[in-house]
Symmetry: C3
Subunit: 349 residues, 3 copies
């Protein structure tokens, strides 16, 4: 499975990294330890002591440093070895790998590729759960499936009428016509106008509305989507132009989602969702999160079953359909970005 | 492990396939979905959508067809692709494999080999649980063991005095003398006369009787056995001739059993047992099934332990004994039938 | 992983082998059945019937012999095949492997290498739990880790201040200075003098004492350690000489520990500990065992985590430190002893 190493991978919710408590996660099959130092800096190192390969995440934060709690080796934030108890000479180049890491939009992001290329400007513009403009709930799910299968799912909403007919009350409109797909910097954009009749949960009015829905899906697996209701006729009037959020009649909401490959056949899926503060309140957010909880469990059931079928298939092949344009475009981008760094082509996580 | 693909494999109890409820099973490591259509027809398809390999068993029956509930592709009973939501052109030859399937003797049978060779006359003549001549109980067990180990067990009853001394009150007679073994069409026949003293559960009389016991073991792993009590001296009088069921003194009973390879190292074992309606009633059947429940759990304990030992043995070899004639004859037949279709030799389920 | 086959491996606590109850264990990935015969002799055979590879540990003791309870084959204590029910001819050389076995120091020891080399004088001089001079508690733990990782742990006590700061109240003295390491016959000796201030659990006095601590670590993974308190100044006075147990002020105690490789990535760890009968009582033993229970759980957490990191590391390499002298010396000895028998180099358990 090809993955883009030179990208910011979501490693945790910011609020889950407590002060001076090391946190362990695998990303692309590599063990990573993340912690907040005494000064509040966020740090990420290879979670594997050079001495005997014990995980540093079982270690102890000491000021800005992290001590392995097996035999006491002390590592600097850049991974350099500072101390070996009982030994005066420290091999000068000894140390573990350090990863560029950022605390942004209430997520912790880790750059898994060449540190020289780690540009914080490439962090996808997710909406953080603490953003005052939005009222967001959040959660996460661990998958027994390759990250790619979850990305494929998120890049093709034609599954909504089949997987989510109940939870999201998704009608055939999601499968009847493909959305508009356009390439964007490091991702693809998926945009559509949908009708919402009176009675649909999206539509609080007593007349039909038009729902604008748009998301960017960005490497290595980040979905950023907003949608809102507009008066009938808006789509025809605007053509390809993007409606202004401020002109929304109602229902303006945002969801940020991230798929992180933790290793071959496993992934972690993070998500937040909720209304704009002028379009809803905590009760509305809770209703939406309840719906999302049902829907994301439906996805998990299907995708993990799909993974099991793939695992028992000697030479698995897919047959793309008209709805796979977004999937195909995105996966080609992944291949292209991975080729930039030949070592990534071999990355098998 | 060699298996006979060109054979009818038991895939389910007929009563477990409800109307329009897809049922999933692996046979020889292949995912199969079975369902009863709106018209009542029984159907079996490859349980793997050609689009993205989601299991069709999570799908929805629509009339005679089956719809994948991931992205909505619709399949005909012959596996042909009928519909791709949102796409007008259907690739003309696209589809999934369909399997010949039959609902017979209260079992669902699936032909895993060349459909052109699927002859319903080859379905083993099991006695169905609804047969009015017999009063049968039934059950099934999932094994963490190769199907072959269960077949080996059923082909050699010399294990009875050791594995089933308690449950079946089996005495040394099962091991003291090998039974008569003869080849039959697509299987082997195992026949013996056994003494049953007063007090043995098989013998309800106050004089000793002779028990005739005969079974055919047929590819791909179906055991069909009857036994009954006869007056002392019958064996000597008849020689090799088969006694008539109608002449039985008492204890006439029938068991149908089937071993299905679900994949490498796993199998499902189906069984029914009970008295002839003139030789017992529901209470007798219940007593017999209780005994069988104990006995089949004894087999499972031994065979799964045997499988674990084999798994930790680099180059496992067996040493056949005099009692292995049936095992050897049957396994040679399996090799021969598998050779008919070279692809079967590679089948590793 | 290299292991010394030509060594006595601890297979069980003596008291866990009941009369005529076969006991199963894997050693170096080989299935072994151990039992006490009718005459009380301890026996060990390959736990794999030559007929169809069923485990003999599901079998039945009959006098001095062991019968497989699958098809009834009977084996002599030397592994020779005595009986095949229903078959007159017994292949003269047929049988299973028998292992030299000894019941010594309340442990059952199995020699996994060439039986001709099995010399009971090579059994490490552990202190049995029934030894009247000592008041010992005991226990065992199953590890999801290679035996070697546990041996490495026991050969380097510099982990004590980090892993066992709480449980054993180990101070930095265990890591500050390496102990004295010397080769001994089939192992290494680790010896040190440690200060114990007033208040330390080791020191029941109102003045500081000096603790002498010494252990031999012997193939295939047996640790035999004693320690005791001496008056301040004893270390300087004695130099390299070994203090007499009889001269101990207080705190004389003994622990016997054994690491048995049960297979690749798994091990069983046996331990006993307690005071000399003139230096403590059952209450003291219970307090020590409670402490050991906490400490050995700390080791298990660390070592199993280390094993998981190693498993996800493509080409795991260690960086030895000054404290690894014992580890390195011992592992070189293992390589050397394994080379004596070329087949051992291939042993991958």
């Amino acid at each position: 499975m090809t993955h883009v190493r030179n990208a910011w991978h979501v490693a945790a919710w910011s609020c889950d990294i407590a002060a001076e408590k090391p946190f362990a996660i695998s990303i692309l099959g590599e063990p990573v330890v993340i912690w907040r130092s005494a000064s509040g800096a966020i740090r990420a190192l290879e979670d594997r002591c050079i001495h005997r390969l014990a995980p540093l995440s079982l270690g102890r934060c000491e000021g800005e440093n992290l001590r392995c709690l097996y035999h006491g080796l002390l590592f600097a934030p850049d991974g350099g070895l500072l101390e070996i108890p009982g030994q005066d000479l420290i091999p000068p180049k000894a140390g573990v790998r350090s990863y560029p890491v950022a605390d942004r939009h209430d997520w912790i992001w880790v750059w898994m590729g060449d540190p020289a290329l780690a540009d914080e400007a490439l962090i996808p513009p997710a909406v953080g759960t603490s953003d005052p403009d939005w009222i967001l709930g959040y959660g996460q799910l661990d998958y027994a499936a390759d990250a790619r299968l979850i990305c494929d799912n998120l890049l093709d909403f034609s599954h909504l009428p089949y997987v989510h007919a109940q939870s999201f009350q998704a009608g055939p409109e999601f499968a009847a016509n493909p959305p508009k797909i356009t390439p964007v910097e490091r991702g693809v954009r998926v945009t559509r106008w949908l009708p919402a009749d009176v009675g649909n949960w999206r539509n609080p009015h007593d007349v039909p509305v038009e729902v604008y829905q748009t998301y960017d899906f960005l490497v290595p697996g980040v979905l950023l989507m907003w949608s809102a209701n507009y008066p009938e006729g808006t789509a025809a009037r605007l053509g390809d132009a993007i409606p202004a959020m401020d002109d929304a009649l109602s229902g303006l909401n945002f969801t940020s989602q991230a798929v992180t490959s933790t290793g071959p056949g496993t992934a972690r899926y993070y998500f937040s969702w909720g209304p704009h503060c002028r379009h809803g309140d905590a009760a509305k957010r809770d209703g939406m999160m309840k719906m999302a909880g049902l829907a994301f469990a439906e996805d998990k059931t299907m995708i993990e079953a799909q993974q099991r079928v793939i695992a028992m298939t000697p030479d698995p092949k897919v047959m793309p359909t008209a709805h796979d344009r977004g999937v195909t475009l995105y996966n080609r981008l992944v291949e292209k970005l991975a080729r930039h760094n030949p070592s990534e082509l071999e990355s098998a996580a």
